[in-house]
């Protein structure tokens, strides 16, 4: 077996490594807390983070050992999940990108426009290719959501320059 396939079959080790790093991060943060203020009460603000951090490190090691011994986390099944095909990480990256763009755009252009782009972009990334129907549904949904939340339900969303014009 080549090293590459060996690693691919044990990609969960990477997850263990992430947990380990997270544990180290929590521990470092707990140990660098301002010591003067920790005196109040028998248990200071650092105690629980220390326990959680140690727990993360221990679990990371145990999880990695489990993987090396042949244990595997069972990938979650679902109604629209097809586990027989290899994972399509390109779609996931595209979706994450569209979502980040929404986070950046919502301030400057307002919810109706940014929301429409989010829906259209996500539908496109997921494989929908209706040139006219997709943007129309996106725009309607976004505008309707804006009106229902902002005007009817009293949950404020930014209208942006477009709503300023209307």
């Amino acid at each position: 077996m080549s090293p590459k396939t060996w690693l691919r079959e044990r990609s969960e080790l990477g997850f263990g490594a992430l947990l380990f790093l997270l544990g180290v991060l929590v521990l470092t943060d707990a140990l660098t807390l301002d010591a003067d203020l920790t005196g109040r009460g028998p248990v200071g603000p650092a105690t629980v983070p220390l326990v959680v951090g140690c727990g993360l490190v221990v679990v990371a090691v145990l999880l990695s050992l489990d993987v090396l011994r042949g244990g595997r986390g069972e990938a979650e099944a679902g109604e629209d999940v097809d586990l027989s095909e290899p994972a399509d990480w390109r779609t996931v990256l595209l979706l994450a990108g569209v979502f980040l763009a929404f986070a950046v755009l919502i301030g400057p252009v307002g919810f109706p426009v940014a929301g429409a782009l989010l829906f259209w972009g996500s539908a496109y990334a997921l494989g929908s290719r209706h040139l006219h129907r997709d943007p129309l549904i996106a725009a309607t949904l976004s505008l309707l959501t804006y009106v229902v939340f902002d005007k009817l339900l009293g949950v404020p969303l930014p209208g942006g320059p477009l709503m300023g014009v209307i």
């Binding site: 983070p49 976004s142 939340f149």
Partner: protein
């Protein structure tokens, strides 16, 4: 009798036209979202949370109760007609319900499920009315060490009962506890894991964690493995039951709650175990054993009734102890916290209008569910044909709306995405999501109780176990932890005999 009077007052609250309207909207929205494939009750409740932000608490929770029951009912419709349940509680409904639908008895399966939900929910809610005030009265006297013990029990129960791997459950819990640590320490105001960011000093909102793990995590995970051809839903007419079917199922409807309610009230993972137990019981007691696996109607009726009753049981520990035992209850607790209301023994004294209005609206919601869902079932079935790109784009869209509505911060959206990516990783490597959500919600509370208990005992660890209650709870924790070992010993003894 006291609770009966309170309940009547509660009906006074629930039956005002406005609250009745919220209940109806909640039931309809909950069912519609719950029917959509890939959306379980927890995600439905998390996604619909922002809808209630603008309402006053009573109206919001009445709507919420409708969403909860509606989403559960919608979930079983999906399993029966599509055979690929999105949530564990509906797995059993698919085992018998889908073969029934394939054999052209979908209408009967849906009716058995709907009436099962109604019966289970009614009996469960009556038990809630009877038990909750008593539990609350008993719980008023319990102190910090007892609360801590209960929370430890919840942590251990969700990590070791659920899922196939304890170490992965524990990893999930620790991820949740870590997210819960972010922000200012409640007692000293020290910044923890904030990395100097002002926004992180407020902590990560529980709603964002719930939406991130349930909605974004799920949408991204499905996106990575999207089925090229969506499963074919079986068309169905209006649900109805013949006299023979009623004769076969009425006992199952009544047996379900007996199994479901107790399991819902204890932290053992909600409806998963009781639905399965109910299924096994129905199979053993049935006169039509040969039909099981091929579409036995009792196998739909009993488990669905058990699931609904367990949802009511969940509310007992959630309302009286502030202890969520399922993902939906966890999200509901987050909703309470949004309004600055802390569920617990004092809730019944401090907010009687709200609590009894909520309980009364559970009854109202169930009647509405039965009245609306039997005639509307063919419409709900059409929702199963929604193109998948639109469905998952819609989930991302509404998750974004919900996260933004929490505080109007664009940074929350980035945090939402990061938590969603964590949720994706957890699904990939078989980490259950529930322990993480419980960790985020109960972690800070448990820490506070721990420090309070130790302050009272002046730092002595014995202060954590100085009440009979806490000792009992820790004993249960030890049994849970030692169970795999105990089982081995028992099996070995049985073998040598």
């Amino acid at each position: 009798m006291d609770s009966l009077n309170s309940l009547i007052d509660g009906f006074g609250t629930a039956l005002t036209p406005m609250n009745l309207l919220w209940a109806a909207i909640g039931v309809l929205l909950g069912t519609a979202i719950g029917v959509l494939p890939g959306i379980g009750p927890a995600m439905a409740v998390a996604l619909l949370l922002p809808v209630t932000y603008g309402l006053e608490p009573t109206g919001a929770f009445i709507m919420f109760a409708g969403i909860y029951y509606g989403a559960m009912f919608g979930g079983s419709t999906t399993s029966i007609l599509l055979n690929t349940p999105g949530e564990s509680a509906a797995v059993v409904a698919a085992i018998e319900g889908n073969p029934m639908a394939k054999a052209g008895r979908g209408a009967q399966a849906l009716a058995a499920a709907a009436i099962g939900h109604f019966a289970g929910g009614m009996i469960g809610t009556i038990l809630l009315v009877v038990l909750a005030p008593t539990v609350a009265a008993l719980a008023v006297d319990i102190g910090a060490p007892d609360y801590l013990a209960l929370m430890v029990l919840a942590f251990i129960a969700v990590t070791s009962v659920l899922g196939s791997s304890r170490i992965r459950g524990l990893a999930s819990l620790l991820i949740g506890l870590t997210i819960g640590l972010v922000g200012l320490d409640q007692m000293t105001g020290q910044q923890r894991l904030t990395f100097g960011s002002l926004q992180l000093a407020d902590g990560v909102d529980v709603v964002i964690v719930a939406v991130g793990l349930f909605a974004i995590g799920e949408a991204l995970w499905v996106a990575a493995h999207l089925r090229r051809t969506a499963g074919e839903a079986i068309p169905v007419g209006r649900p109805w039951l013949g006299r023979d079917d009623v004769k076969r199922t009425w006992k199952s409807w009544l047996r379900g709650p007996v199994i479901g309610f107790p399991f819902g009230a204890i932290p053992a993972g909600g409806a998963e175990i009781p639905t399965f137990l109910s299924y096994v019981t129905e199979k053993r007691l049935s006169k039509h054993k040969e039909q099981f696996g091929k579409g036995a109607i009792e196998g739909v009726a009993g488990p669905e009734s058990a699931a609904s009753a367990s949802a009511a049981g969940t509310l007992v520990s959630m309302l009286t102890l502030g202890l969520p035992t399922t993902a939906v209850a966890a999200v509901m607790l987050a909703a309470f916290q949004q309004y600055g209301i802390q569920p617990g023994p004092l809730l019944f004294e401090r907010e009687p209008d709200l609590v009894w209005g909520l309980i009364a609206s559970l009854f109202v919601g169930m009647v509405l569910l039965l009245a609306l869902n039997l005639p509307l079932a063919p419409v709900w079935a059409k929702l199963l044909r929604i193109p998948r790109p639109y469905l998952y784009a819609g989930i991302l869209f509404f998750a974004a709306v919900g996260a933004y509505a929490v505080g109007g911060e664009a940074l929350d959206l980035v945090i939402l995405l990061v938590i969603g990516l964590i949720g994706l990783g957890m699904r990939r490597y078989g980490l259950p999501v529930l322990p993480a959500v419980i960790g985020v919600i109960l972690g800070p509370a448990a820490e506070q109780q721990l420090r309070r208990a130790l302050q009272i005992s002046d730092g002595s660890v014995t202060g954590l176990v100085d009440t009979p209650f806490s000792v009992t709870v820790y004993a249960v924790v030890v049994i849970l932890l030692a169970w795999p070992l105990l089982r081995k010993v028992i099996i070995r003894r049985g073998g040598t005999r």
